[in-house]
């Protein structure tokens, strides 16, 4: 195998990866995973056990959001792909802005609550990913309705 054919093979694999989407049915699985995770978190609130359910539930919500985000629409055409890309870009930019301005909001909240808070504590990985995926999903639905 020469260098040119290796490069061609890699390019084809990258193209396949770029276009890969989960089947439409995974959207329902994603919703189900989110519902189960939320129930787990609620159960955790009422139990005296450690926060195992809450931790698993938090990551379950992320998994559910990823499944919904990666799954195809009923008809996945070029308009839908373009709207998805716009939604990902918007969600990324908004998440970065919110992460950067988080210390400011924490500072304002500490003044209002009259309670000292660590303004540079920042957002955790879960919050950032949750924010990004949620904004993506809601903005995509908004764009879909707008394009009708």
């Amino acid at each position: 195998m020469n260098l040119k054919s290796i490069a061609e093979c890699e390019r084809r694999n990258l193209e396949k990866m770029k276009r890969y989407r989960l089947p439409f049915g995974y959207k329902k699985i994603g919703i189900l995973v989110i519902i189960i995770s939320i129930i787990g978190i609620i159960i955790n609130k009422t139990s005296i056990d450690d926060n195992l359910f809450a931790q698993v539930g938090k990551y379950g919500i992320l998994l559910g959001l990823v499944l919904i985000s990666l799954s195809k629409e009923k008809i996945e055409d070029e308009l839908v792909i373009s709207l998805k890309m716009q939604a990902y870009t918007f969600a990324f930019v908004i998440s970065v802005i919110l992460t950067l301005t988080n210390p400011l909001f924490t500072y304002i909240a500490s003044i209002i609550a009259n309670k000292p808070m660590d303004i540079f504590k920042g957002m955790g990985d879960w919050q950032i990913l949750w924010l990004l995926l949620s904004i993506k999903l809601f903005y995509f639905e908004f764009l879909k309705r707008m394009s009708r």
Binding site: D77, E78, L79, S147
Partner: protein
């Protein structure tokens, strides 16, 4: 860019749903193209051209702000 897809569709006597089915997209995409909210890819434009048996230029037209100054 403006287009006359709606007129071409009326000439053929087909609905948005039927046109969408023929070129393999959703009805929403046809509606967005007709309302000039979405510019289709070259592939889709060529599929429309094949279906209408007309060149792409016959139903897609550049507007003044789209034209490149040479």
């Amino acid at each position: 860019m403006k287009n006359s897809i709606k007129i071409e569709r009326a000439i053929m006597g087909i609905t948005q749903e039927e046109l969408a089915l023929k070129i393999g997209v959703s009805r929403q995409t046809i509606s967005s193209i007709e309302k000039n909210r979405y510019i289709p890819s070259t592939l889709l434009a060529l599929r429309l051209s094949q279906l209408f048996t007309k060149p792409v230029n016959a139903f897609f037209e550049l507007e003044q702000e789209d034209e490149v100054l040479i």
